[in-house]
């Protein structure tokens, strides 16, 4: 079958550092070279996009020689670590930015969904925004008009449809935006992790909608995600990016496995918390420095112990609370723990964290840690510092839990202790 999209040798170069005085000099030089019909002098330089090492040059390749094809009706999952080049590839596919070299041939109408509700204006009503958003995404007024009732119905915002969206809750805004997007009818849909927003019910709805789009109307979808479960269940094929290059291409399941086994190495014994663990800004009045484990082999219902080293950056008087979420390696939240209020006095101190009786099924897990002001008692926690993928651990199968020797994937991730007695007449 003919491919609906063919990407050939896609590369994208970025300039590092601050755009400033060196820039005008490079601009002039580039202009001078191009004017004489020579090649761009800066295109030859540039290094692999590795974020863990300090770059020596000024230019970096965010993408390097990416080749892939997509068949019609196929759902392709694009996965990779943060900074692997996923977003850049997405931007090129959506025509937001042009590649430095290479070309992509597209045989069909392409629509991209990098965000829900692009073009929404706070002052306009829900109805007006449906038109605005639809037009931004490439629909004509007539198309939107014929689908208006369906869109309003799908969004579940009927009562507020003539109210300005600034009065909407964030959930409603997202639903309205997605409702418009779901009624797009391109041949190829490019979707970013927009599904990460919204509650679980919404995510389910969104994934379901994507599934029907592909199975019923043969729509081709390119899907970029961190959610390995979604990729596995939704996509037929996968593309793993690493440092701006295609590292693996194949079936979705294989791609996810390749990715998980190669790129998600979270230490089990000790881990220093650095910037790569932080995803957003915090006050960091208290800072997480490191975490280490002090337990031996773990199995279901055994005790887990961690030592968390923290530093006081400001003289704080309020109590803090250490909370964490246990995740599995498909990035699904399994459960969370919350500490009592802690008053930190010394400049550096160690917190002992113990999780007893956890009932986790055999498998690999990791912890996202947060240190917050306040406590669970007054139900208000405001983050002071956080660390994603702080430490990982593995629950092993042990003789004591002989049932677990063959713990199956579809049994879930929690073991429920139970008692069964046969009720007999006395």
């Amino acid at each position: 079958m003919k491919s609906i999209l063919i990407a050939e040798n896609i590369s994208k170069q970025y300039r590092l550092g601050v755009i400033g005085t060196g820039n005008i000099r490079h601009d002039l030089k580039r202009w001078w070279y191009l004017k004489r019909g020579k090649e761009d002098p800066f295109i030859k330089i540039g290094e692999k996009n590795r974020q863990d090492t300090k770059a020596s040059g000024d230019y970096v390749w965010a993408l390097k020689d990416i080749n892939f094809e997509v068949k019609p009706g196929e759902i392709l999952g694009i996965i990779g670590k943060n900074g692997a080049g996923k977003s850049t590839l997405l931007k090129i596919l959506s025509r937001i930015t042009a590649p430095t070299t290479g070309s992509i041939e597209v045989r069909g109408r392409i629509s991209s969904l990098l965000e829900v509700g692009t073009g929404f204006h706070r002052e306009l009503t829900g109805r007006e925004n449906i038109f605005m958003n639809g037009a931004v995404l490439g629909m004509t007024k007539r198309e939107i008009k014929t689908k208006l009732d369906e869109i309003i119905d799908f969004s579940g915002c009927e009562r507020y449809i003539d109210t300005p969206v600034k009065r909407y809750s964030s959930g409603m805004t997202v639903r309205l935006g997605f409702a418009v997007a779901a009624h797009l009818e391109p041949d190829i849909l490019v979707v970013d992790e927009v599904l990460a927003v919204g509650d679980a019910e919404f995510q389910k709805k969104a994934i379901g909608k994507m599934n029907t789009l592909s199975s019923d109307s043969g729509r081709t979808i390119l899907f970029v995600s961190h959610n390995m479960d979604a990729v596995k269940s939704l996509c037929q094929r996968g593309l793993v990016l690493h440092n701006g290059e295609v590292d693996f291409a194949g079936e979705a399941r294989e791609s996810v496995d390749h990715y998980l086994s190669n790129y998600r190495r979270i230490p089990q014994i000790q881990n220093k918390i650095n910037e790569s663990h932080r995803r957003h800004k915090n006050s960091r009045a208290l800072e997480l420095l490191s975490i280490s484990s002090s337990h031996n082999d773990l199995h279901t219902r055994s005790r887990m112990c961690f030592d968390v080293l923290i530093r006081k950056n400001k003289n704080i008087t309020f109590p803090v609370c250490l909370t964490g979420t246990i995740m599995n390696f498909s990035d699904m939240e399994i459960g969370s723990f919350f500490s009592e209020e802690i008053y930190v006095h010394q400049e550096e101190s160690t917190i002992n964290l113990t999780i007893a009786d956890h009932n986790l099924a055999p498998g690999s897990y990791y912890i996202n840690l947060t240190i917050s002001k306040g406590s669970l008692k007054n139900a208000h926690l405001s983050e002071v510092d956080h660390a994603f993928e702080a430490i990982s651990f593995e629950i092993e199968m042990k003789e004591r839990n002989e049932y677990f020797v063959n713990w199956k994937k579809n049994w879930g991730q929690i073991y429920f202790p139970s008692e069964v007695k046969l009720k007999t007449d006395i």
């Binding site: 079958m1 003919k2 491919s3 609906i4 970025y14 755009i19 820039n23 005008i24 601009d27 019609p72 009706g73 931007k91 090129i92 596919l93 959506s94 025509r95 937001i96 930015t97 042009a98 590649p99 430095t100 070299t101 290479g102 070309s103 992509i104 041939e105 597209v106 045989r107 069909g108 109408r109 392409i110 991209s112 990098l114 965000e115 692009t118 073009g119 204006h121 002052e123 306009l124 007006e128 038109f131 605005m132 037009a135 931004v136 995404l137 490439g138 004509t140 007024k141 041949d187 109307s217 043969g218 729509r219 081709t220």
Partner: protein
């Protein structure tokens, strides 16, 4: 399974063409253009008490101030035309030009959010801005007519010139020069933001060398040694000509008319080429 057309819809490539405007595509997005215009018009004065009245207050007050300063204090003669109307006409024309300019000069920064998330022909945004301003200009031209009629009934002998038919051309010249300059500034600003600061006060200074608050010939009379600054400024001839066709005051010269027209087209094309270049690199530099 979806059908695949044999024809390649489009090709995503490094773009190096000097100017590639895809007119069929722009036409396809005309609804978006219309919605942008509508949004800009109806959202500006939301949550204000006077609402669209602001469209009227600004030119009226400016004309009043100019009349007091330039005609009453500085005693600049405006011929048979009442100074207030003289200023109002000049300000209305200048407003259209300057708002086209300032409205498009920060087009990239104002739309960074939306440009970073979705593709549509970028040129739609500045065009929408110019059309929005045209709407405002129409309202302000309406007040000019009201004041005109009021003064006529008050006994003043004013009448438009026969060349009033050139009005659409003058509007086009103002739109093209404003848009062109705005596009040039917007393209330069994405890398060097200094120009963004420059525009703010440059426009207000430009007003004084564009014969807005005085007739062109007054410069010759008062400061002949510097008159060339105004004389070679195409905008000054646009302002003078605009007043000439409406109020039949001042001078008109076909050569200068053509000069301003050609100049506006050159500005527009230059702006378009630069904009075309910037829209591709903008998202990587902003």
């Amino acid at each position: 399974m979806g059908k695949v057309s044999n024809q390649v819809h489009y090709r995503i490539t490094p773009k190096r063409k000097l100017l590639d405007l895809n007119f069929p595509e722009i036409w396809k997005y005309r609804d978006l253009l219309f919605l942008f215009v509508r949004r800009d018009i109806i959202t500006v004065y939301k949550q204000t008490i006077l609402g669209p009245l602001w469209y009227l207050i600004q030119p009226l007050l400016t004309a009043l101030t100019f009349t007091l300063v330039f005609n009453n204090i500085a005693e600049i003669p405006t011929g048979k035309v009442p100074p207030f109307l003289f200023n109002l006409v000049g300000i209305t024309a200048w407003n259209y030009f300057s708002q086209c300019l300032t409205g498009t000069s920060n087009i990239f920064r104002a739309n960074a959010e939306i440009f970073g998330k979705v593709y549509f022909p970028r040129i739609i945004t500045p065009i929408a801005s110019v059309i929005t301003m045209l709407f405002k200009f129409g309202i302000q031209l309406g007040i000019v007519i009201v004041v005109y009629i009021f003064l006529l009934s008050g006994g003043f002998h004013i009448h438009p010139n026969l060349k009033l038919f050139l009005l659409p051309v003058y509007i086009l010249i103002m739109a093209l020069s404003g848009l062109g300059l705005g596009l040039i500034v917007s393209s330069v600003t994405i890398k060097y933001r200094d120009f963004g600061f420059l525009v703010g006060f440059a426009v207000s200074l430009l007003l004084y060398i564009s014969a807005v608050p005085y007739p062109l010939k007054e410069v010759e009379n008062k400061i002949p040694e510097y008159a060339w600054i105004v004389n070679y400024n195409p905008l000054a001839h646009v302002m003078e000509g605009f007043r000439y066709i409406i109020l039949n005051t001042g001078t008109f010269n076909w050569a200068w008319f053509v000069f301003s027209f050609v100049f506006s087209i050159i500005l527009f094309l230059t702006g378009l080429v630069l904009f075309n270049r910037s829209e591709k690199i903008f998202i990587d530099t902003v």
